[in-house]
């Protein structure tokens, strides 16, 4: 390992710029770097009705979310034998097309890095204390609290 620390967790209002994160995965002993970006989508279909999103707003229980993301990154590092794990989640307003989350990891071979990303995202979406509120084009606002 070299350069940046093996686990990096960031939670904040600054826009996510992948180009500024890429060097965080650098490690001459790895052969794979993989990234996932979750991006604000304009249209959502709910019960056959298409709703148009104007922007999203994200809120977190920050102390809890930071600890959860730290444990999640460490669990992933051990389970998939990763070299480095980066998780960045945006808070506050996020415009259409902008990233709300970035997850990156590096590993010796590609399979581990490919497999780690969906696992990390599934855990993040089911457990980490972060919430989004939709602001729709018709002006209505709605917290997203999936109950299934």
């Amino acid at each position: 390992m070299s350069g940046s620390p093996p686990l990096i967790i960031r939670l904040g209002e600054e826009p996510i710029e992948l180009a500024k994160l890429e060097n965080l995965l650098e490690d001459p002993d790895t052969g794979a770097q993989a990234w996932f970006l979750g991006v604000t989508r304009r249209k959502t279909e709910v019960d056959g009705v298409t709703r148009v999103t104007e922007r999203l707003f994200y809120e977190a229980n920050e102390s809890m979310a930071r600890k959860q993301l730290g444990r999640l990154a460490e669990d992933a590092r051990i389970q998939f034998e990763l070299s480095k794990v980066v998780i960045v989640h945006r808070l506050g307003d996020v415009a259409i097309g902008e990233a709300s989350v970035a997850v990156g990891c590096s590993s010796k071979h590609r399979v581990a890095a490919f497999q780690a990303l969906p696992w990390i995202m599934d855990q993040l979406k089911s457990d980490v204390a972060i919430w989004k509120r939709e602001l729709y084009a018709d002006g209505t606002k709605e917290w997203v609290h999936p109950t299934q």
Binding site: G38, Y58, E59, A60, N61, S63, M64, A65, K67, Q68, H89, S100, V101, M121, L124, K125, S126, D127, V128, A129, I130, W131, K132, R133, W143, V144, H145, P146, T147
Partner: protein, 83 residues
């Protein structure tokens, strides 16, 4: 004993506050389930969402039967939607 419970997202907006104080029975063990029931009683407008919520104690999810201590930091966590 009086305990303060942090609220987030739709819970926070429905309550009009980022936390509420509830008073639980003064003696005996208090469980996470007792806290959730007390919040439902104090804020009936939240009662529909509370069964889907989890209680976090000191930033970790607990189960309904887990005991609560007076110094614990409590947060009611509605279904999450990060990502």
């Amino acid at each position: 004993m009086p305990v303060r419970v942090q609220l987030f997202a739709a819970l926070r907006e429905a309550a009009g506050s980022d936390s509420i104080e509830i008073d639980l029975r003064p003696s005996g063990d208090i469980s996470a389930g007792d806290v959730m029931r007390a919040v439902s009683e104090k804020l009936p407008e939240l009662a529909g969402l509370i069964p889907a919520c989890r209680l976090a104690v000191n930033d970790r999810y607990v189960s309904e039967d887990d005991a609560i201590a007076p110094s614990d930091s409590l947060a009611l966590i509605p279904p999450v939607s990060g990502g």
